[in-house]
């Protein structure tokens, strides 16, 4: 299967991506002007809204940090020639594992408990990703199918566990688990926004992955695998471990995103809390052309577009489905230029 990867000439790749973004932004502006009852107000909300207050800044940065993780997760898998479509389930399961750790560890553990919960989330996500890797290594099962199916199965299981006696919140009208102890909350930044200190973890992680993938023999082997699997096999790469590793690593990053969502933002597992993070991570990886260095700006850009369209919806001029429409327009142009270049 052909997978998106960095263009041989990065400048050409960048310019075509920027062109696609410009076209999609133009399409968005046209939509706002044509369908908005107060077009100027809608445009202002779109372009200024995500930066209009500390709350908006904080929420934008928090969402970006999560998309950096899921974008990196998708990039790592894509770069190694593995299509991980199970991000949604891996994030959700990571959130559940972090919740379980935070609910059942003694609160006196404090920072150690936070670390344990984050690691639990990563292990759970990695485990789910690795199952698909193992199926591929053992029976050549297509990971595109297995990651998706496993994810689709995990989400309803987690949903049913949220309200089970083990995790459920008595007396709540939300479909939510009970809150984790305050000792395990990641300290907040820019109150009352969702931003927290854990979000800062994502920047060094992006750097580490950038170095790992682009500047180490291990990263070289991963990229080799992504570009030509048969050739990589001839060079003596262990196909079994290189089927398992990228998907496991990708799952771990997704799981970490879920854990941060629980420990930093919701302080509980609310049904649907991570909806879209996995899929949006794929979009970020596509915008970044699977280059870990480009994931951070791509995540920021994607978050800006997402928050901007939400701000427009909050203006009351458009139905809530509009934000999904904007995202769809952007993804359409981004993926269209990838398909065009392949053909």
């Amino acid at each position: 299967m052909n997978l998106p990867r960095a263009h041989a000439n990065p400048l050409i790749g960048l310019s075509s991506t920027l062109l696609a973004l410009a076209v999609s932004l133009l399409a968005t502006v046209v939509l706002l002007v044509v369908f908005g009852s107060h077009p100027l107000s809608a445009l202002r909300s779109f372009f200024v809204g995500p930066f209009s207050s500390p709350l908006a800044w904080g929420n934008t940065l928090n969402q970006s940090s999560l998309l950096v993780l899921t974008g990196l997760a998708a990039s790592v898998a894509f770069g190694a020639g593995a299509f991980n479509l199970g991000g949604e389930g891996q994030v959700y399961l990571g959130g559940l594992a972090a919740l379980a750790a935070a609910l059942f560890l003694p609160p006196v553990w404090g920072a150690l408990g936070i670390l344990a919960a984050l690691v639990s989330g990563m292990v759970a996500g990695a485990g789910l990703g690795a199952v698909s890797g193992a199926l591929k290594a053992r029976w050549q099962a297509d990971e595109l199918i297995t990651t998706f199916l496993l994810s689709a199965s995990v989400v309803p299981v987690v949903d049913s566990l949220i309200t089970s006696p083990l995790f459920g919140a008595a007396g709540s009208f939300l479909i939510t688990s009970r809150k984790i102890p305050q000792e395990f909350w990641l300290p907040g930044l820019l109150a009352p926004s969702n931003l927290h200190w854990g979000a800062l973890l994502t920047l060094p992680l992006a750097v580490v992955f950038g170095v790992l993938v682009n500047s180490t023999p291990w990263g070289y082997r991963l990229r080799l695998l992504g570009r030509n699997r048969a050739f990589a096999q001839y060079t003596g790469l262990s196909m079994a471990s290189y089927s398992l590793l990228p998907l496991g690593l990708s799952g771990a990053l997704h799981g970490l995103a879920g854990a941060l969502g629980v420990l930093g933002t919701q302080h509980a597992l609310v049904q649907g809390f991570s909806s879209g993070w996995g899929w949006n991570g794929i979009a970020v990886a596509l915008i970044a052309r699977t280059n870990p260095w480009a994931v951070v700006p791509a995540a920021l850009l994607f978050t800006f577009l997402d928050q901007a369209s939400r701000m427009v919806v909050l203006q009351g001029q458009f139905p809530f489905q509009l934000s999904a429409l904007f995202q769809a327009a952007i993804l359409f142009f981004i993926t269209a230029q990838i398909v065009r270049r392949r053909s």
Partner: protein, 333 residues
């Protein structure tokens, strides 16, 4: 020279753009879901707009929050942070829980929350006596079952379990059913979400296969599945809180109503007049006219024999006149 002129024009345009006033409104109606296709929220919105129209200069914006409850808190916070709205009006039992952290961060903001109960000083809440409405549904289910000589069992299919369901609706429905059939039982099924019509149909079919005559769905979109299953099995459905007779003629044989428009109208009118009390939750029932059973509609009259209608109307009238009331279980905090 040309470039400096260009820069000046650009700066002026940018300044104009940035200072464009956001079109202002006094009241924000936050819909935790979608407006279209949801009679409850349409009524909420209509009531707010009716009250606002009576006072010059009051504007209303309606904002849809979509179906992901995990995002509602962030959306409410963004609405409040805009500083645009004097009141946020919404409706959902979960909203006080969602709005509490926002109210803490923005203490000047006032919320009017229907279908909820809270003593928070920033909230004016109004909850409905679901036990009374569920009792009426149960009584009609009992009369129907009795006349059809089916199993002394009625079905209740819920979207999910939540405090009002467990503490008021299910017990109220059971009380009503057992007021007609003292040994009767209520089978309770949960869909697990508010949209899966297929699962709703599956659960209802299972109940009808056990010779249950009538099912009350309170399951959002999944309720359509219950109606489909009832149609196939030739059984009956009661519709909880909006006029449901037209959904499937002859299948939906009884319909309750919650007059959300009246409630939102009254509360917003008081808010605009400065007489609305915050932190003092209201509970209203059938006697106050906010809840009722639609017994005068032709679909009800033609759908049921007089042998069922007459005793049922007598029960409804007892509630309307206040001769019979039931206490609504409320949160302790």
């Amino acid at each position: 020279m040309r470039s400096s002129r260009f820069a000046l024009v650009f700066a002026l345009l940018l300044a104009g753009f940035l200072t464009t006033p956001v079109f202002a409104a006094t009241i924000g109606v936050f819909i935790p879901g979608a407006l279209q296709g949801s009679p409850t929220y349409e009524l909420l919105d209509a009531g707010v707009r009716k009250a606002a129209a009576e006072v010059p200069g009051i504007t209303v914006k309606t904002i849809e929050g979509g179906f992901n409850q995990a995002q509602w808190g962030e959306q409410i916070a963004a609405l409040v942070a805009s500083g645009e709205y004097k009141w946020i009006v919404t409706s959902n039992p979960a909203m006080p829980e969602i709005c509490t952290p926002v109210a803490q961060a923005y203490p000047a903001q006032r919320f009017i929350i229907l279908e909820s109960w809270s003593k928070n000083a920033s909230f004016a809440t109004l909850s409905y006596n679901h036990r009374e409405l569920a009792f009426l549904h149960g009584a009609l289910a009992g009369l129907l079952t009795q006349s059809r000589k089916g199993a002394a069992v009625a079905g209740l299919v819920a979207g999910q379990e939540y405090p009002d369901m467990n503490n008021a609706i299910l017990p109220g429905f059971r009380e009503g059913f057992q007021s007609i059939l003292p040994a009767g039982k209520v089978e309770f099924r949960v869909v697990g979400n508010w949209y899966d019509a297929g699962k709703g149909a599956e659960l209802a079919k299972n109940l009808f296969d056990q010779n249950v005559s009538v099912v009350l769905p309170i399951a959002g979109g999944a309720g359509q599945g219950v109606i489909s299953a009832a149609k196939q099995a030739g059984k009956s459905v009661l519709w909880y809180d909006t006029d449901g007779y037209a959904l499937e003629k002859g299948i939906v044989v009884g319909s309750g109503v919650i007059r959300q428009d009246t409630a939102s109208y009254q509360l917003v009118k008081k808010a605009l007049a400065g007489t609305l009390e915050y932190g003092k939750p209201l509970v209203v029932g059938v006697k106050e006219g906010y809840l009722d059973y639609l017994t005068s509609l032709p679909a009800f009259v033609s759908g049921l024999p007089a042998a069922i209608r007459t005793p049922f109307e007598a029960i409804v009238n007892q509630f309307r006149t206040g001769k019979k009331t039931l206490a609504m279980p409320l949160p302790t905090s």
